[in-house]
């Protein structure tokens, strides 16, 4: 009885203590953008900020997920970004996403600046394993070394340090088993707030594009870093084709509601959330049934805390026009493909097209697995319109190392207005040992997509990704070892069998019979 009381008291004290020392904030936001051809883009954003005092090291962690906290504190992580996706974002058709991601997975981490490079390498491997474990992924950076230390891209709007490690794993595709642990990091799970829409997970995987991301950042509040702040942003992008879901056949408009798409409605808000907003970007693209609580430059804002106090649920019905333009077009478009393939080598070409009327400076990051032996001498950057070779502003090339690290190429370029540049490089096929072929089905080997960072002085940098390519390596006939095993087993069976027979048999002497006796015995048989 006393124990129980003490326990309750401690919880109470805890609450009081926390409420005065720290202000954990959690905001959730859902942005809905209407895309051409009755596609709709849902962008969920869950942001939690936890001012962590230097003394407590995940003994009291409030609503910040401890599982993640353990990883970041153990491996001294300053920044961590993980994206998992299924499908391909169609930049040409859908414009710019709120957050870009390559197909498959991408992971990068910035470690504490006091760590040595050696320690960072080991921390990176271990933390990637821990992350894999946390999200049910199989990012195996030990056997499939894919890590590079990018100098000019990846981390946005910041001078990059040597402490970053970057890997993209195109064949690790987002799946249900990765979604569940991702949702569990949310303070209210999927029971309350806008995350209620994620309850019906099979519906989520009916989308044309599905991407989940997690971004962690450790921020110092002052120069001396006496107090820090943990920031965790979880986002989820979904693109649906409303026509395919509602099965309507209207040429002009399509009508759909949240319930149509997610088979669920938002009925309440997460109690710990400070702000729960739904933003609708309608800008002449359609109409909505529910009146917004606020209008922010043609963006309809729904404050769900206010709305759900009066109504039972939030399920706006939207009438979407079909022939609409993308609100934010990509400033630079990418197209990557394999050219000039023969038995020995092949070329990888990336077309970079500046869609704007202004000069744009970009950074091109290419990581090519070691088993494609890249020749830096074959690198050609060309203006496709004039067919003249271009001298890039900067080239950073770190050659690959067999079984250790991939080829890493960074090119800084300034694109002329409305120009098309191409980056071309040739590679040989490497040979893998027969046990180095992955156990999965052999689609071919993936060549990572290019990450293009579009530098901007005024606004934030923009990142876009190219297509993933696959290429077939010389593959041994894997059924041959099987045949050999069969053959060997047969030989062993025959050899061992006769030997076994020979050695375990008892031998005894028989007197040799002459012809007469034999004949006699023979006749004896007939007698019977």
């Amino acid at each position: 009885m006393i124990l129980k009381f003490l326990f309750k008291l401690s919880i109470l004290l805890n609450f009081i203590f926390f409420n005065c020392t720290s202000a954990f904030t959690f905001n959730e936001k859902l942005t809905v953008n209407l895309l051409p051809n009755s596609n709709a883009y849902f962008f969920f954003e869950f942001k939690s900020i936890w001012p962590k005092s230097a003394s407590n090291n995940f003994e009291n962690y409030d609503l910040f997920p401890k599982r993640l906290g353990d990883i970041v504190s153990k491996f001294k992580v300053d920044e961590l970004s993980l994206t998992l996706s299924q499908g391909k974002w169609k930049y040409n058709e859908w414009g710019l996403p709120q957050k870009s991601a390559p197909s498959g997975s991408e992971l990068w981490t910035v470690f504490d600046e006091n760590l040595s490079q050696l320690k960072i390498d080991s921390n990176w491997l271990q933390s990637s394993r821990a992350i894999s474990g946390l999200f049910g992924l199989s990012i195996n950076l030990q056997e499939n070394p894919n890590t590079v230390v990018p100098k000019y891209s990846v981390v946005l709007n910041k001078n990059q340090s040597e402490n970053i490690r970057y890997a993209s794993i195109p064949n690790e595709i987002f799946c249900t088993e990765n979604l569940t642990p991702w949702i569990k990091l949310l303070p209210c799970g999927k029971n309350k707030g806008i995350a209620q829409l994620l309850k019906n997970s099979p519906k989520l995987f009916e989308s044309h594009y599905f991407m989940a991301s997690l971004f962690f950042k450790r921020k110092c509040n002052d120069q001396a870093c006496s107090s820090v702040q943990f920031e965790l942003v979880q986002t989820l992008s979904l693109v649906y084709n409303a026509d395919l879901i509602t099965r309507q056949l209207d040429d002009e408009e399509s009508t759909w509601s949240f319930n149509n798409i997610f088979q669920n409605k938002i009925t309440n808000v997460c109690p710990v959330a400070d702000v729960t907003n739904v933003l609708l970007n309608l800008k002449g693209k359609g109409k909505v049934t529910v009146m917004p609580t606020e209008k922010r430059d043609e963006m309809y804002v729904y404050n769900l805390k206010e709305l759900l106090a009066s109504s039972k649920d939030f399920n706006p019905s939207i009438v979407q026009k079909k022939n609409i333009q993308v609100s934010e077009k990509v400033p630079v478009s990418l197209h990557r493909y394999i050219t000039d393939k023969n038995e020995i080598n092949f070329g990888i070409k990336t077309l970079i097209k500046n869609e704007n009327d202004q000069e744009v400076s970009i950074v091109y990051l290419d990581t090519i697995p070691w088993y494609f032996r890249v020749y830096i001498s074959s690198l050609v950057v060309k203006d496709e319109d004039t067919s003249l070779n271009i001298k890039p502003d900067l080239i950073n090339f770190v050659p690959g190392w067999d079984r250790k690290k991939p080829h890493h190429l960074e090119v800084k370029l300034t694109l002329k207005p409305k120009s098309v540049y191409s980056v071309y490089i040739r590679a040989d096929f490497g040979y893998l040992k027969w046990d180095e072929f992955p156990p999965d089905v052999n689609h071919g080997f993936y060549i990572n997509p290019v990450l293009l960072t579009i530098k901007s002085n005024q606004k934030e940098d923009i990142q876009i990704y190219s297509e993933t390519l696959i290429m077939n390596l010389p593959t041994p006939d894997f059924s041959m070892p099987y045949n050999v095993i069969c053959l060997t087993c047969t030989v062993i069976a025959i050899g061992f069998g006769s030997l076994h027979n020979f050695t375990t048999r008892k031998f005894k002497f028989i007197q040799q019979k002459n012809l007469k006796e034999k004949l006699f015995e023979f006749l004896k048989k007939f007698k019977k």
Binding site: N37, K88, G104, T339, H443, T468
Partner: protein
């Protein structure tokens, strides 16, 4: 010359029986080769086809096409456009319009031009331009790393270069495009290609897709691409009203074939949909289709005919349809064409809709089977002959027949080799004397003859365009110029022995060893040539071996009888590659294309020269090596045989 120093006793032991039984062994081997080949399609040796790749799961999907209304609408729309305005409206722009505006899929056009490799005849322009259309049905939920191509030419070229529009073929692409757009199950992008100018347009598109340079076809750069192409289907349908059977064309460029699994999948799907599918112009005894049987019966004689038919088409190296050019890039591709059998119960008019539905369902089902693939086509066979749509002969089965056919030449080579280098006593003095005399002979008489033969090959190899240039100066049509110059070179070769005799002033010192050496070299080069070709294009090497193996042995025989010598020389004249391959082509026309040689005797030469020109033109444009290989190697070998027979 290590043989001379080796223990010649052992080799002598080998030599004696070889000399004794060699001719008999040769004869038996050759006959066995022919008999074995004819037995290949027999029940004892032939195997039934089977699906080797489990992931294909043919015929297990339920179709998403329920009615033919949409396809008839598209067909009528295309037909109206074709029939009004003299057919000018039926072009790439119309198809592009339907793709991008009606079906709302990503679609682009590609212009290309073909510059003729050599001076064309007066009525043809030097440069022809055309326009292709391609569209993408992107897989909605996949990352777009893999794709399947479905292509259809705008026009089909029939007999006598008659152009018929491929209306039904193109209409089917629209149905499939709609399916690709609206169904979530696609794991691979579908790429739709409609090509102008048939094979040329296809090559232009493929070259641009992979950015491979071609000397003669220049295509515009493609705007975008799909992932790596796993398979391609090409659709050719002349008439929507007259289809009750589908025929497959397999043969690709340079005799390469698509993976057998792809073909088997289609046949299996046809069986499950109870529709008749077969090889191109497949011969069957009872003309009844095999879907009535669980296990198709083996028919021996039709089997032989079908195999030879396939080999005829394979041996030219020139694909007879658009699918052939995908195979250059290791993309499994075949052509499905619609045809009609008169004596079939399904041929009634009322069955037309059912037949159209079955056709499109077969193609849909095939695409979805390929969509199931997790890995590239790698199982089953890449080297095979088909004796019927249900039976195949694998490389392991047909190769021995080739080996047996070339065996007589090999035996002769060995016999000659041993008799030159072994039969003499292994006395050191003598052997050095022998080798020096051989060397002398080599330079005096053997090398010049081979050089002369080689020069003819090189003249033909490089001279083709010059022949046509001269022809143009002399106001000959390209077809006539080519065949006439070719014949002229052949006549030159035939006349060479006389020229050589008049040129050599002194009496040639005839030596038995040098004679043997000459024969040895010719036969050896023939064996090496045919052996190499057999690995690249089995059918071509088979047709060469079956004829040139006995002919070469006849040519190296010394006849004292004048009459026999005359016969020998007549045989050698007839074995001129031009005559032999013309004969083969006529035999093909006679047996498989219902072209009666005897009745159409007067057209024969005209037809041959036309086909020869087409063949040379297409092999130059599409870089097919059959013509060059024959010019560079077979013609010199034949010429050397001819020269040798005159000693």
């Amino acid at each position: 010359m290590s043989l001379l120093n080796g223990d010649s006793d052992k080799k002598l032991k080998l030599y004696e029986p070889l000399e004794k039984f060699g001719p008999l062994l040769s004869l038996v081997g050759f006959i066995a080769g022919v008999v074995y080949f004819c037995l290949l399609p027999h029940q004892l040796l032939v195997h039934g086809t089977y699906i080797s790749e489990n992931a294909l799961l043919p015929g297990l999907v339920s179709s998403d096409i329920f009615s033919t209304d949409a396809i008839f609408n598209f067909y009528d729309y295309l037909k109206n456009n074709y029939e009004t305005n003299g057919g000018k409206n039926y072009n790439a722009d119309l198809i592009h319009h339907i793709f991008s505006n009606q079906l709302k899929i990503e679609s682009y056009t590609q212009s290309f031009n073909l510059s003729y490799p050599f001076y064309a005849s007066q009525d043809e322009n030097m440069v022809k331009t055309g326009k292709n259309v391609y569209g993408f049905g992107r897989a909605q939920r996949a990352d777009g790393t893999e794709s399947i191509v479905v292509s259809a030419p705008l026009f089909l070229t029939g007999k006598k270069n008659k152009q018929t529009p491929n209306l039904f073929g193109v209409a089917q692409l629209f149905i499939l495009a709609d399916l690709a757009k609206n169904r979530p199950y696609w794991a691979k992008d579908l790429i739709f290609v409609v090509t102008d100018m048939g094979q040329i347009g296809m090559q232009a598109w493929i070259n641009s897709y992979f950015e491979t340079e071609s000397e003669f076809i220049k295509g515009e750069n493609l705007k975008t691409r799909g992932g790596s192409i796993q398979a391609a289907l090409n659709l050719e349908f002349k008439d929507i009203n007259n289809i009750n059977k589908l025929e497959m064309k397999l043969e690709g460029a340079n005799g390469k074939l698509p993976n057998l699994d792809l073909f088997n999948t289609i046949i299996r799907i046809c069986k499950s949909l109870q529709f008749q599918c077969s090889l191109e112009s497949e011969i069957s005894e009872n003309n009844e289709y095999h879907y009535y049987y669980n296990k198709a019966p083996v028919q021996h004689i039709p089997g032989i005919l079908n195999t030879i038919n396939m080999m005829f088409k394979q041996s030219t190296g020139v694909p007879n349809s658009l699918n052939g050019y995908f195979i250059n890039h290791r993309i499994e591709a075949l052509t499905i064409s619609g045809s009609r059998i008169a004596s079939e119960k399904n041929s009634k008019r009322s069955h037309q809709k059912q037949n159209v539905l079955s056709t499109i369902r077969i193609i849909e089902s095939t695409l979805r089977s390929v969509n199931n693939l997790l890995e590239r086509f790698h199982q089953s066979f890449f080297f095979y002959l088909l004796s019927s749509s249900h039976h195949y002969i694998s490389i392991g089965m047909y190769m021995p027949s080739f080996g047996l056919l070339i065996l007589p030449v090999l035996i002769k080579v060995l016999t000659l080799w041993f008799s030159i280098f072994l039969k003499k006593d292994s006395n050191d003095e003598k052997s050095t004397e022998l080798s020096s005399s051989i060397m002398l002979n080599l330079f005096k008489s053997i090398i010049p003859k081979f050089l002369v033969s080689g020069v003819f090959g090189i003249v033909l190899y490089f001279g083709t365009s010059y022949f046509l240039m001269f022809g143009k100066k002399m106001n000959l049509s390209a077809k006539d110029a080519l065949i006439n110059s070719y014949i002229a070179v052949m006549v030159n070769i035939l006349g060479m022995p006389i020229i050589l005799k008049t040129l050599s002033t002194r009496k040639e010192h005839r030596n038995e060893t040098s004679e043997k050496l000459k024969k040895l070299l010719v036969l050896l080069s023939l064996t090496i040539f045919v052996g190499t070709v057999s690995l690249l294009n089995f059918s071509l090497s088979f047709f060469i071996a079956i004829f040139y193996s006995p002919i070469s042995l006849l040519a190296v025989q010394d006849f004292s009888n004048k009459f026999l010598r005359l016969l020998q020389q007549i045989a050698l004249v007839l074995s001129c590659p031009l005559i032999y391959f013309s004969f083969l082509y006529l035999a093909y026309l006679n047996f498989y294309e219902n072209f009666n040689i005897l009745r159409n005797y007067d057209q024969m030469f005209q037809l041959l020269s036309e086909k020869f020109y087409d063949f040379v033109l297409l092999s130059k444009i599409s870089s097919i090596w059959t013509y060059d290989m024959i010019n560079l190697f077979l013609v010199p070998i034949w010429s050397a045989l001819w020269l040798i027979s005159f000693n």
